[in-house]
Symmetry: C2
């Protein structure tokens, strides 16, 4: 079980609104093409780092997401010719991620037309699992994402519900900013996001064909 | 002249709306406290990297800004007790930066309540000068920021016009995300922002008491 990929990550990029039922639960509009934002490396939470911090006055929501780790630079990809297979070739492996979000801060920013960096960027707002090898996830669209709070299932959906597949995400991102080897890309959250309070026990994991991947487990308070 | 600080930077943080006359020129509201956003390391433009890229359909605006480089970690600073002098102690040195902005992309994002990461994060959107030692800038509020396009002055103001001083910026940022040694923080742009087109010759530099700092010079197409 290794977290070495975290040190190698030059940036953490996150797709917003990539699952229809999640878009509906927050009354958002479905984007016509992928949009994304950055989370700072300072927001990464590893098992040794202690609990999720809930800042005073902040409503923290969990968003469980499949993250991919790049094994090469991707620059100005042509969306017409970059295929699903090309995308798989560019993936070093995976991680499970929770894109924690200060929902009230984000809502305020959205209303005022301000950046999302604060609402998405608090310390501890990016719990990550260890690195998951590609052999454990032969198909990134056959990944069941699970998140439980205090033993109760909150999120439980298959990644084949993604609106924009990974090759389209890579193509869009790479047309704006060069993706570097080691970059970590979160692919969006399915429905079921909700509030966390201090002391909540959060467990998240991936199963493939009903079998839990041990490396994928996140277990935090 | 050294750019080593760029490799050491874990993140690039930028304050928005920190000069009154700039807020007015874009018809924005003055924030009651500092807000900020992240630029990716992939957007840094060094002299060897070639020209500023103007993506198709994008209106690129220049924003010249004083950047500070941290020499230590700053975490949960108390805004009541963290002083201007404490902030100076935490500064390793400076750089001149141009926070290039895809203004039409940003305007659209503001209208739709979307993140600023795309509008601020294109490749080449962060030209930086070499590292400027603290001895050359004894007072960060006595820094004249200059930006010329094709020989014509577009921006020319003193940093004492900042709304939020550096210690307040550090305190606010550190209460949200831990600032790390090496992080680079852009302190906002004065009035005079405007459009760049391919082939424009952009010169930016700092003067202190009328004397140009050679390390501060940015000269790009
Ligand atoms: Mg998310
Ligand atoms: Mg780094
Ligand atoms: Mg700016």
């Amino acid at each position: 079980m290794s977290f070495n990929f975290v040190k190698e990550a030059g940036k953490f990029l996150c797709i917003g609104r990539n699952y229809v039922a999640h878009i509906k639960e927050l009354n958002n509009r479905t984007p016509s093409q992928p949009f994304f934002f950055l989370k700072p490396s300072s927001s990464v939470l590893l098992p040794k780092d202690g609990p999720i911090l809930v800042p005073k006055g902040v409503v923290v929501h969990h968003e469980v997401e499949l993250a991919v780790v790049l094994n090469k630079q991707l620059k100005n990809l042509d969306p017409e010719t970059f295929t699903a297979e090309d995308a798989l070739d560019a993936i070093a492996g995976y991680s499970l991620a929770i894109d924690l979000t200060a929902r009230n801060v984000q809502d305020e920013a959205k209303k005022k037309g301000l950046p999302w960096s604060i609402g998405k960027g608090f310390d501890t707002f990016l719990p990550l699992s260890p690195f998951i090898s590609k052999s454990q996830i032969p198909d990134p669209y056959n990944v069941q994402l699970h998140l439980k709070v205090n033993g109760e299932t909150r999120q439980d959906d298959l990644t084949n519900l993604m609106i924009f597949p990974v090759h389209q995400i890579f193509a869009t991102m790479s047309s704006i900013m060069t993706l570097e080897k080691g970059d970590v890309i979160l692919t969006g959250t399915p429905k079921g996001v909700g509030k966390l309070v201090p002391g909540d026990h959060v467990e998240a994991f991936i199963s493939v064909d009903g079998k839990v991947i041990p490396e994928s487990v996140i277990d935090v308070e």
